[in-house]
Assembly symmetry: C2
Homo-oligomer: 318 residues x 2
């Protein structure tokens, strides 16, 4: 049960020598996902020595260039490196047409299967589920159709309380899986033993929500309730709040208000406008509204682990 999030880029609009557009590498409950893919993402993946061949699914929030112009290059590189395993891409309608057109003209079809899952719903929906993780969309409000994504670990099995289980001779090994699944145990005499007396609760599941790009939208807090880690865009500081309506972006204060309202564990700010040199002001403007806040930064790693019901949050820059 762990989350490791590596920021690959966290600036808006255009890539520059020392600032990269949005992309994040997420390792959650042993699964590897890429979230957004601005130009140069494949170079960032190499720079931070991430095993990007392990990426199984790529989630694209919207079709502004700073969130997907690196996708076709990454797919082409996978092909050149001889990738064989399937690649799934989730993103707005149109993403398939854009990628396929370029592969067609370059006569560079992939040897692996490429699956596109095009999104059109304006309501939150489950778009991926396996035994480890679920992914739901978070409908955002931006100049083009945009989704955030909520990645949730699935709860692990309950853990047997062996000292209690061994006291009841009737319980056989073949009963263990039912107990781990949370079932009560019925003795031959009809007495029911509550599951919680025979097992320990699993560690709480962790989850991560990614919200970029969006204008301030308090209603998304319902979808973000109690998430362990939230990334919320903060393109502007308060001095440029008047730009939020036309550009459909948020300020640091607005992001912090969402974090507070949703009672999240930790907030990461990102998608900074290039007009800001020193980013400390983003923290200063957010803190009065939500204290557990950090800045995204290319190469920065956020790790969350559940250990004996104690949540550990660490972050470090590379």
């Amino acid at each position: 049960m762990s989350i490791k999030l590596t920021i690959l880029g966290c600036h808006s609009a255009t890539p520059r020598t020392n600032s990269h557009t949005t992309a994040q590498f997420l390792e959650i409950n042993t699964k590897n996902f890429l979230i957004d893919c601005g130009e140069g993402t494949q170079v960032q993946l190499r720079k931070y020595k991430l095993k990007f061949s392990k990426i199984e699914r790529i989630f694209i929030s919207h079709l502004h260039g700073d969130h997907f112009f690196g996708l076709v290059g990454l797919i082409s590189t996978f092909a050149l490196l001889g990738r064989e395993k399937d690649l799934h891409i989730y993103g707005p309608k149109g993403i398939k047409e854009i990628i396929v057109l370029q592969l067609k003209y370059s006569k560079s079809w992939t040897n692996f299967n490429l699956y596109f899952h095009e999104l059109t719903s304006k309501k939150s929906e489950l778009i991926f589920e396996d035994d480890k993780v679920t992914v739901h969309t978070i409908p955002l409000k931006h100049r083009v159709y945009t989704n955030g994504f909520l990645f949730k670990e699935k709860l692990a099995e309950r853990k047997l309380n062996i000292s209690e289980v061994s006291k009841i001779k009737e319980i056989e090994i073949c009963d263990y899986q039912n107990l781990k699944n949370g079932k009560d145990y019925t003795l031959k005499n009809g007495t029911i033993i509550k599951n919680e007396n025979l097992t320990f609760a699993p560690l709480p599941a962790l989850n991560y929500a990614f919200c970029s790009d969006t204008m301030y939208q308090p209603q998304i807090a319902d979808l973000l309730k109690n998430v362990s880690l939230l990334y919320h865009e903060s393109t502007f500081l308060k001095d440029k709040e008047h730009l939020c309506d036309t550009t459909m972006h948020s300020t640091a204060e607005q992001a912090a208000k969402i974090a507070k309202q949703a009672n999240v564990g930790e907030l990461i700010l990102g998608h900074f406008s290039s007009r800001y040199g020193n980013l400390d002001a983003f923290i200063n403007e957010a803190k009065p509204f939500f204290n557990n806040v950090q800045l995204a930064e290319a190469g920065k790693v956020f790790e969350l682990k559940n250990a004996e019901n104690k949540k550990l949050v660490k972050s470090h820059s590379q």
Copy 2:
């Protein structure tokens, strides 16, 4: 009369932390051109502090990703930076559809005029001409339709030999332009004075030929005859010559043979396969066939100047 060529990227296939795919910034006779535009080109333009807003025309050799995946991002950045002046793009048929589709989905139409000049001819053709420069295609042989480009300065006007001109009282200032244009002068008594006795020849025009990607094709030497500076791809060394047929690339030796056959002034090798760590071997394999050879390298600048009929070639790395 000068050429300044800055290499932005010169590796094949995929961009990496320290190697960039093909792009070159060419300043020729006061005109600014971009040649090819691999992913990350806009970052390279910024890194080397090139005034990329001055680019008027972009030439794309072919639709393999390592030569054009950075184009849509560069166009978007021009739009974000408020560009107003026209941008002309020359490249294979399909390039317009690819770019326009992405601008459409991102709802990010440019405020400046974007002109696409799609190329389909398999013969060399004049694709641009103004009072300073001409650009012709160089048909290459690759896995997809590909052109190199030949950039030629136009000859400057002849320069008046004032001491000779002033000896002939009949010649008036209004005659000067005819003399600069190379016309002889006819005296009132019918005597013809040859133009070369009244003017000096202009400095020879410089030219630059870009050939990437292509398999060895000796017949292009006719188009490259006596060019001042030639960039010719050399993806492989001799050890991998057997790959040239299937991948349709060249070796360093083959590039040198083209340079020799065309009697060019200087040869630049590039488009190196990432399998080669130390690139000195490319020079070693080319030199026996053509001595004036250098390696492309990101940030390297090649400058050619004509000064009093003496050609100066300089190169330096940044």
